[in-house]
């Protein structure tokens, strides 16, 4: 039987370039727009806007941005890590403990070591989840307590220190916004962009999007899940080191870890990462972290009670995610 000519009516009309762009980056564009609006609002509030003001925004958001990136990777792969904030606190205390009295070069080496330890913690968490078959929420909740306790063990009250050179290099001097911006953009371009396009990146999205189909297609689901938690831990290590550079000390109080975890989830969700997995990226959470940081500053500038800041942050998250999800569902229904 000779093959007949193909029937063009079989394949549905391909989605237009514009529609595809809008689908892939729609959320990001909206978040960036929102950020721009808030940015100019803040700009208009201040009598003068120079390096100091900009640095306050960017360096202040850095910790949440990096934690949000780590959480985003875990959520995209279909999991969640409640211990991420506590891992950050642990990394913060460990680096502050070790870096005290050291010179800048040594601090950088120690930073790399702490980040590696963060990744190792992530591997342990991920392996526990995969081997025990206990849901990730339960396992990471348990590790939240373990890591909070461990932080208190190594540093039982705020203390430690780091080299001034290290602080300026990572978080920038009081009027230098550039280091914080460069580090964040740098990590995104050097770590995330290549990962996203690599086979590992596709596998992360695959197991988050449809774990069963990924398994049938031959993906080693367990191994990729562990890698996701390892990467999350690595970012938590980075966030901890950045916190040491920003504050100049280590703070083991567990309340910080809990708040940080919630902020990381908020940043991820606001940045377009769906809690169901398989959707989103890392740029969104970074922008969302800055948005979340701007809200209390703007409120202070408007003379509104800054204690309302958290309420406003929560409302913003609900409204944005609600609209975003509603739009996504509407698109799917047509």
């Amino acid at each position: 039987m000779t093959t007949a000519p193909p029937r063009p009516a079989l394949v549905p009309k391909p989605t237009s370039r514009w529609a595809r762009l809008r689908r892939r980056h729609g959320w990001l564009i909206v978040t960036a727009g929102f950020l721009l609006v808030l940015f100019f609002w803040r700009f208009s509030q201040l009598p003068k806007f120079g390096g100091f003001e900009l640095r306050t925004i960017t360096a202040g958001a850095m910790v949440v941005a990096f934690l949000g990136m780590g959480q985003a990777i875990v959520i995209i792969s279909g999991g969640i890590d409640l211990a991420l904030g506590a891992a950050m606190v642990f990394a913060n205390c460990l680096s502050a403990l070790w870096m005290k009295g050291q010179h800048t070069g040594m601090c950088f080496l120690l930073a790399i070591a702490v980040i590696a330890i963060g990744a190792a913690i992530g591997t342990i968490v991920g392996t526990t989840i995969v081997l025990s078959r206990v849901p990730d929420i339960v396992v990471t909740l348990a590790y939240l307590f373990v890591l909070s306790g461990a932080a208190l063990l190594i540093l039982n009250q705020p203390g430690g220190g780091t080299a001034q050179g290290f602080r300026s290099a990572v978080a920038g001097g009081l009027s230098q916004p550039l280091p914080s911006i460069l580090w964040t953009v740098g990590v995104l371009s050097v770590l995330w962009m290549p990962l996203k396009r690599s086979t590992l990146g596709v596998k992360l999205y695959a197991i988050g999007g449809n774990r069963a189909a990924a398994y049938l297609a031959g993906v080693d689901v367990s191994r990729v899940r562990v890698v996701a938690y390892t990467l999350g831990g690595m970012f938590a290590g980075m966030a901890g080191v950045i916190n040491t550079a920003y504050t100049g000390s280590g703070d083991p109080r567990s309340s910080i870890g809990l708040a940080a975890t919630l902020s990381s989830i908020a940043a991820a969700v606001l940045g377009g990462v769906a809690l169901t997995g398989g959707v989103g990226g890392l740029v969104g959470p970074v922008l969302a972290a800055v948005v979340l940081g701007l809200i209390p500053a703007i409120m202070l500038g408007e003379g509104v009670d800054p204690n309302l800041a958290q309420v406003v942050q929560g409302c913003v998250i609900i409204v944005v995610v609600m609209i975003g999800t509603w739009l996504a569902v509407k698109r799917r229904a047509t």
């Binding site: 193909p6 063009p8 079989l10 596709v202 999205y205 695959a206 449809n210 398994y215 031959g218």
Partner: protein, 488 residues
């Protein structure tokens, strides 16, 4: 003389107390297209799972080209040369075609060529998989596996979602692959296709292989007979009941031109005192039909009329309020397994919003005891989850007794239940009908439908294709389920 490329011996698998495969032998020769046939529950899907690496056998051996193999996951099976096209496409909806191909390291050029041979030439690989129709996904999945040039290609109900002209092209591609030395294990309900395509076929029944023969040696009739086997112990037939209803009487349930999901223009009615049986092979749309009747899905077109009033349900709660209740197939989803029996029985009563006050157990006690006695539920086990399958099924039906209904929808109520409890259930169903309810029952137990139904509807490919009297023999019923023409 072509050698055996896949040899399965004494394969066995059980899931807890359920024996899925008893002892299966299978031989597939090099360069042959071998069909695997069997009724629902015969063990086909378990065999596919084991061969594809998704599950592991409890006993038995698999030899692929003479080497003994044991697959721990699908990639091991593929690496050994056994590629499977699953019923559910192994593709991720949120990713593009290109990204899905990169997951399995499939060469896009080769996949494109393979798709062209099926007649699909202008597929953009940057499309998201979830925007593509199901048949295209199956073709992509098939192309991915063909590109691997596997020794054995396992096709699980491949043609179910394909339009017929594509199927022809796929067949010619498969024949070419087989001429080149590959082998194919073809699983299908479509006996006509098996006749057209396959060199040999093996029939599974009750977890064993019972016959292997060439399709032309006996035809579809032989296939159906082999799937059925010898009739089991005869259950005592019920006395024939004469249903008194005139044409003018308003039916309890009237389905008019229902179209939803895979169902097309389905129309039938259930009258007071009637038990209507529905039979079908797997995946012909019966679950969607019951879900739509129960209020879970909104139909695309058509109407469901209950006691003369059209059903407008935003969910099962509305359907229940109008008198349509569903006993689902999966007892696990129907019951609250950790709660005691009495809570399960009275749950529908308290499902309404108003009842938030204290539950007056003493007042309910009599009603509960009445139901328990009537159904002869063995109530020694405290929590519902500990009951035997049969008792659980009685419970799922029983709770509607406590709250009342008009139309009872039963989805495969006797699956996996022992013969004694089955008899009790059939008596109960007939009693309910005699008391004035209307009952629609989907069942996979063809041999028992005569005990309980007044008429039998056959669902095939989303349409009701036949209505048969309940005393029709099993062979004719099964043939009808396969879409074959039957003499009344």
């Amino acid at each position: 003389m072509s050698e055996t490329v896949l040899q399965v011996r004494n394969l066995a698998k059980r899931y807890g107390p359920v024996v899925a495969l008893r002892s299966v032998d299978l031989d597939i020769k090099r360069g042959e297209i071998h069909a695997l046939l069997g009724a629902n529950g015969a063990g086909k899907s378990t065999l596919v799972k084991i061969l594809s690496g998704v599950a592991q056998a409890d006993a038995g051996s698999i030899m692929l080209t003479g080497r003994s193999v044991r697959f721990r996951n699908p990639s091991q099976a593929r690496a050994a040369g056994l590629a499977t096209v699953f019923q559910e496409p192994a593709l991720i909806g949120e990713l593009t075609v290109r990204e899905n191909l990169s997951l399995t390291h499939s060469d896009p050029y080769q996949v494109r060529e393979a798709l062209a041979s099926f007649g699909v030439s202008d597929l953009q690989f940057d499309e998201l998989v979830r925007d593509l129709p199901l048949f295209l996904l199956r073709l992509i999945d098939l192309a991915k596996q063909l590109v691997l040039s596997p020794r054995v290609l396992l096709l699980d109900e491949l043609t179910a979602a394909l339009p017929s002209d594509i199927t022809e092209r796929v067949f010619s591609v498969l024949r070419e692959a087989v001429r080149a030395g590959q082998s194919i294990l073809f699983i299908s309900h479509r006996l006509a296709e098996v006749m057209e395509l396959c060199d040999r076929c093996t029939v599974l029944r009750d977890g064993c292989n019972v016959e292997t023969f060439e399709p032309r040696d006996g035809g579809e009739g032989r296939m159906v007979a082999a799937m059925l086997g010898t009739p089991p112990e005869q259950l005592t037939a019920r006395e024939s009941r004469v249903i008194h209803h005139t044409q003018e009487q308003v039916p309890l349930l009237d389905v008019k031109h229902l179209t939803v999901g895979p169902l097309r223009d389905v129309s039938f009615s259930v009258h007071k005192g009637e038990v209507v049986g529905l039979i079908a092979l797997e995946g012909q749309g019966q679950d969607v039909l019951f879900a739509a009747l129960a209020g879970e899905y909104r139909p695309s077109s058509g109407q469901i009329v209950v006691c003369g009033k059209p059903l407008s349900a935003r969910g099962p709660a509305d359907a229940i309020r109008q008198g349509l209740v569903l006993v689902p197939a999966d007892r696990a989803t129907a019951l609250l397994p950790k709660r005691p029996i009495r809570e399960n029985l009275t749950l529908p009563l308290y499902a309404r919003f108003r009842s938030w006050g204290a539950i007056r157990w003493k007042a309910e006690k009599r009603r509960i005891e009445d139901v328990v006695r009537r159904l002869a539920i063995d109530a020694r086990a405290g929590a519902a989850g500990r009951l035997s399958g049969g008792n659980q099924q009685k419970l799922t039906i029983g709770r509607w007794l406590a709250s009342g209904f008009q139309v009872l929808l039963l989805f495969d109520p006797t699956r996996g239940i022992d013969i004694g409890t089955k008899r009790q259930l059939y008596v109960l169903i007939r009693d309910l009908a005699a008391a004035g309810a209307g009952i629609l029952m989907f069942t996979s137990e063809l041999r028992e439908i005569s005990l309980v139904a007044d008429r039998v509807l056959v669902l095939y490919n989303g349409q009701i294709i036949e209505e048969l009297p309940p005393d029709t023999d099993e062979e004719t019923l099964l043939s009808a389920c396969h879409g074959l023409e039957v003499a009344r």
